[in-house]
């Protein structure tokens, strides 16, 4: 009864705070639209100044009987960047310096020659500018596409090597510097040697020596065929076959949805629960309520419920908005609500624990932001990016705050990922009890 009365009172107060209500309505819509657009549209490519110094007449190089057109590898690179053509190295540098492009990619004129020589590594030049994140973005994009281009080139070089081996084995015409040469080939050489040996008298001393050469030809024929497979393997020594050990892997875009919803749920629940409890102190009504009218447990439960209810409404609206852009499993909507309710209550329990420690709404908001923002970043740190010992510490810290558990619950509910929803809900329940007890302790008179 007292809980319902207080809840009605707080909802009425919220309704009369137009800025806050406006924020609660506009925030999920704006975030949902932004995330939806970000996930449903192609990523923008980094603008990179591009200078190809290879004369068009030298764009195609001859390697044996194969012709390799280097412009094909330009196209490969352009899948990762937005090229801004420039006419000189100076202009490329200017563009990078004034920020109109975040990098410059220069293909030097000697590249075809270096490739054709097959004796040295050919280089392209990349000039970076901008902040570390931009540099890293361009570096990763260019290096990954260069790796693909290298792979394609290696495959072509492998074909050239194959054709030389075939020529050595079976013979044929070799075109070189405008001349055509008839290459005998090891198979034909061995046949001819066998015929010569047969024609010699049995007592001829040449016969034994020809037998040695013939058996060498036989060994060469047998093993040169195998070397083609070795060259093929060198072109692509390692390929990846993926296997996920347990559960269902969440696509990055769907994981981003779970992160966005968890962040919204966290902010609304923590800020509202802590703020509304601090408001009771700020308006001096806490003392009045605690004078036998409302028990501390009821008061804390009411604030937690308020935060969780509003947080759920905002997050659900946000998820519905994102659903307009990204396909979501609507058949699991009841699990979304379950995860949101548990996550919302855990965040709100943390909020009331904070709200019971401070006397003003502003202090509560500041504390909520100071505590929750770093926890989001900690919870999103990938295991492989830090040392195992540091990751253990991060995991322990993340485990005693609700964000990671709420994210896991939402990811499991929305994307059916691992760990299971039940495990995440149990974790959240423990946090609700823990932070509830902490708030009760802090609210002692």
């Amino acid at each position: 009864m007292a809980l319902a009365t207080l809840l009605g009172k707080d909802l009425r107060i919220l309704r009369r705070s137009p800025v806050l209500v406006g924020l609660l309505i506009v925030y999920p819509i704006a975030i949902a639209v932004l995330i939806g657009l970000a996930l449903s549209s192609s990523p923008a490519l980094p603008r990179v100044a591009f200078l190809n110094e290879i004369p068009p007449s030298q764009a195609t190089i001859q390697l044996g009987s194969e012709k390799i057109n280097t412009t094909r590898y330009e196209r490969e690179l352009f899948q990762a960047i937005q090229p801004v053509p420039v006419s000189s190295v100076a202009q490329a540098l200017d563009d990078v310096r004034d920020g109109s492009t975040i990098a410059a990619l220069i293909i030097p004129p000697e590249l075809p020659e270096e490739l054709a020589s097959a004796a040295q590594t050919a280089y392209v030049k990349v000039i970076y500018n901008g902040n570390a994140v931009n540099q890293s973005l361009v570096e990763t994009a260019i290096e990954s596409k260069l790796a693909q281009a290298n792979g394609l080139l290696a495959a072509q070089l492998s074909q050239v090597a194959d054709s030389y081996i075939d020529l050595l084995l079976t013979g044929g015409n070799l075109h070189f510097l405008g001349n055509t040469y008839d290459v005998l080939g090891l198979v034909r050489a061995r046949t001819m040697l066998a015929a010569i040996a047969d024609a010699l008298p049995a007592s001829s001393p040449l016969r034994a020596r020809i037998d040695i050469v013939e058996s060498f030809a036989q060994i060469a024929v047998s093993h040169l065929g195998g070397s083609k497979r070795v060259i093929g393997a060198v072109a692509a020594p390692i390929a990846v076959r993926q296997q996920v050990l347990s559960g269902r892997r969440t696509p990055l875009s769907n994981y981003a949805v779970a992160v966005a919803v968890a962040v919204s749920l966290m902010f609304v629940c923590i800020l509202l629960a802590s703020g509304m409890l601090a408001l009771e102190r700020e308006e001096n009504t806490l003392e009045r309520l605690r004078r036998g009218l409302v028990g501390a447990g009821v008061l804390l439960a009411e604030k937690a419920l308020l935060g969780a209810l509003v947080g759920m409404a905002v997050s659900f609206a946000m998820l519905c908005g994102i659903g307009l852009f990204v396909p979501l499993g609507w058949g699991r909507a009841e699990l979304w609500l379950l995860a949101m309710a548990a996550g919302g209550l855990a965040f709100a329990a943390l909020g009331v624990a904070m709200g019971s420690l401070v006397r003003e709404v502003r202090a509560a908001s500041l504390l909520a932001l100071l505590v929750s923002l770093p926890l989001v970043f900690l919870a999103l740190v990938p295991a492989a990016s830090v040392s195992p010992a540091l990751y253990d510490v991060i995991r322990a810290v993340s485990a005693i705050f609700p964000f990671k558990a709420a994210l896991e619950a939402l990811d499991a509910a929305v994307n059916q990922s691992q760990p299971s929803l039940a495990a995440a809900l149990a974790h959240l329940l423990a946090l609700i009890v823990g932070f509830g007890a902490l708030a009760r302790l802090a609210l002692r008179p």
Binding site: M1, A2, T5, L6, K9, R12, I13, R16, S17, E283, N284, T285, E287, R288, L289, R290, R291, G292, L293, V294, P445
Partner: protein, 231 residues
């Protein structure tokens, strides 16, 4: 029969004694003023009487049927709710059977009917204090506790407040109030209780305190009384 009786009330916060061994009895329709320097323990004593603080020791007796109304020093109202909504909220939390009728009656008594729909945050300090007191009285308590009720009011607002409180006293409500205003204590209280450093130094009428110091001016008598006892 006493409306409110305290025997040997004490409150400790750790090693610090905030209130030590306070005893008094207050009859129906009587007014008791608690006076003393800052930090004397006035608010702590009122909080114990109101039920907001558990006494460390001592005994408190209240009439069984009707409770205590408490008006804290700072206005404890929701500024985003209207006058009527504030009264209705606390009437419901007090468990009053006909909360609407109680609100209606209180709006009439406090003269706030015209402002019933106004948000409390838009009211003057005086009207806000009237709402604060009205909430304390919404359950028609046997005893009303007021913590420095007029400290933020101008003389005209003070007079109107006491007019209202005296009407309740005339109707049989007992009143305990803490104040720094000795003239106010002399004017409205039949009994005085002097506290200093948590200790009860005097209990009696204002006239008794003046007589004890052979001083007709109560404020001078009060200051001399404290000075003699090292405060």
């Amino acid at each position: 029969m006493a409306s409110l009786e305290a025997r040997g009330l004490s409150k400790r916060f750790g090693d610090r004694v905030a209130v030590r061994d306070v005893s008094f009895a207050l009859g129906r329709g009587e007014v008791l003023a608690i006076i003393g320097p800052n930090g004397a323990g006035k608010t702590t004593l009122l909080s114990m009487l109101a039920g907001g603080l558990e006494p460390s020791s001592g005994e408190l007796r209240l009439p069984p049927s009707r409770g205590i109304g408490w008006v804290p020093q700072k206005t404890a109202v929701y500024s985003k709710l209207s006058v009527a909504e504030n009264l209705l909220l606390f009437a419901r939390l007090e468990g009053i059977a006909d909360a609407d009728a109680a609100v209606d009656g209180m709006l009439e008594q406090t003269g706030l009917r015209d402002r019933a729909g106004d948000e409390v945050g838009t009211l003057s300090g005086g009207n806000r204090q009237r709402v604060n007191i009205a909430i304390g009285l919404i359950s028609d308590p046997a005893v009303l506790l007021l913590d420095e009720p007029t400290s933020a009011l101008d003389p005209r607002q003070r007079a109107r407040l006491w007019q209202f409180v005296n009407a309740r006293v005339a109707a049989g409500t007992s009143v305990v109030f803490a104040t720094h205003d000795i003239a106010e204590a002399e004017r409205y209280a039949g009994q005085l209780l002097v506290l200093a450093d948590g200790e009860m130094l005097f209990a009696g009428s204002p006239a008794d305190l003046g007589a004890a110091e052979r001083e007709s001016d109560l404020e001078r008598a009060f200051v001399a009384f404290l000075a003699e006892r090292g405060h």
